[in-house]
């Protein structure tokens, strides 16, 4: 155990987390910490366990061993909907826009746990300020938006929730290069406004530019971890493990 002040700084901590799907073990003891106010990048090749790590944190996948702590509280094995209510909000890979529901309804549901209608309205105003296109398209079916707009909707929906920590899974996937940069800018801005973010990205170079700290997963283990600047400087790492 480290000193008390250090502990307070850590909002999310994984200790020896193992998890998998049926007989396939995807995580073989992951140790990871996310400090308040930081962007932490989670990197690695396909199948390294990045998405499973996020799913285990948010409760979609049950840890078979180890613990997940959120703000000092053990949340291992809790129901995903209860974990979301704590303010640990997971934006899954592929965005998962609710097909057949309008953009506005998607946002409203993001604030499902917010009972106060005024607060919901206020948050929707904030989301519309951040993403004006969503306001213009609010009555359209959410699934008919372009890929970039869907990503904005997915992030906007998470903001409606009243998050303390965001888990973002491949927010740049399938987007045109310009939109990738836009998305990264938004992530940076959210962080500057105080949001702690655990970011899974294929595009390692980009992720390490944003992040304060980085973890590299390989075969369900943390292969290495360091300040993002250090990982970024080590070109051999980028080439060997991260691809481009």
């Amino acid at each position: 155990m480290t000193s008390e002040t250090m502990n307070n700084d850590v909002v999310l901590r994984l200790k020896g987390v193992e998890a998998g799907y049926g007989r396939i073990q995807a995580l073989n003891g992951v140790d990871l910490e996310v400090r308040r106010g930081q962007i932490v990048a989670l990197l690695g090749a396909n199948g390294a366990g990045k998405t499973t790590t996020l799913k285990t944190i948010s409760g979609l996948v049950r840890a078979t061993s180890g613990t997940v702590e959120f703000e000092g509280e053990d949340i291992t094995g809790r129901r995903a909907s209860d974990i979301a209510r704590l303010g640990l909000v997971h934006v899954p890979e592929g965005r998962h826009i609710l097909k057949g529901l309008s953009v506005r309804e998607n946002l409203e549901l993001g604030a499902f746990t917010v009972r106060d209608a005024n607060l919901r309205r206020q948050r929707m105003g904030e989301v519309f300020r951040l993403f004006p296109i969503l306001e213009r398209r609010q009555h359209q079916d959410g699934s008919l938006l372009s890929g970039g707009e869907q990503q904005m909707l997915a992030i906007g929906r998470a903001l409606m929730h009243g998050h303390r920590v965001l888990l973002l899974d491949e927010p740049s996937m399938g987007l045109a290069p310009k939109l990738v940069l836009d998305t990264m800018r938004i992530i940076k801005r959210l962080n500057q406004e105080g949001t702690t973010i655990l970011l899974v990205e294929q595009n390692a170079r980009l992720a390490l530019k944003l992040a304060h700290y980085g973890y590299v997963l390989e075969g369900g283990h943390v292969r290495m971890q360091n300040d993002a600047a250090v990982l970024r400087a080590d070109t051999s790492i980028v080439q060997a493990y991260l691809g481009d």
Binding site: R79, S81, P92, L98, K99, E105, L109, G174
Partner: protein
Amino acid sequence: MNLSDIVAQQLVNGLVLGSFYALVALGYTMIFGVIKLLNFAHGDLYMVGGFVGFLALSAISGVVGGDWPGVFIAMLFAMIAVGCLGVVIERVAYHPMLAAPRLSILITALAVSLVLQNAVLGLTGGQYQAFRADLGFGGFDIGSLFIQHNQMVLVGTAALLMVALQLFVTRTQFGRAMRAVSIDKDMCQLMGINVPVVIAVTFFIGSALAAAAGTMAGAYYGSIWYFMGFLIGLKAFTAAVIGGIGSIPGAMLGGLVLGLLEAFGTQIPGIGSEWKDVFSFAVLILVLVLKPTGLLGKPEQERM
């Protein structure tokens, strides 16, 4: 009777029949939405609703009489009781099967249907029960067309229930959550929605609507028996498919369309009323062949 009278009369008949179909089809389609199960026991919940309504009305008709006010109170009681029965069925029979292959849960639904039918068969000895409602046969004429008050009240009540449901699923957070659960359960959990609770509420509402139809049908037709849910279950399934299974407005539309098709189908020369079931299921087959997604259903497509 001239042709326009026949058309008008069958329109009324079709609306009455279609109201019953639509109410039962709604539960079918909502339950399919949230757990992707064709609940073959759903027609039997309509039947149980008829019997609970019958018992409730028998108990209170001495005080409030057997006319519509009494029937409404009995119907409300049946809706709550059968709604709870639906929730219990989901928890006991379907919930443990959700992770199993789709066929297993379908067979479970058939078993639940048999249990409900045989329970009521055992309790009633398989006899028809006269439904002690006293609705009268009053009405009014429009030209040579005669419309019973009963028909108006019945169609009006069904319409009111459907409007209420539509407002619930489009205007409330919980209703939106219900639609969302039918689309993407994992995402719902990530938004903090307690999915099992939403599924339970869906079963409650769907079963309650079937019970409302069962009580009204008992009061309107004057008799009930343990097997009355079988055929309407199949008809409601047909209606849900015509409208597009999983679509709530589709179930309403499909129910009305099927009711009207049956009413008018019996007027086609050479097709008597004894052929109306053949007519319905021929329509089902046609829809499945020509437009399997139904009138309001959306084709399945994945988008990255």
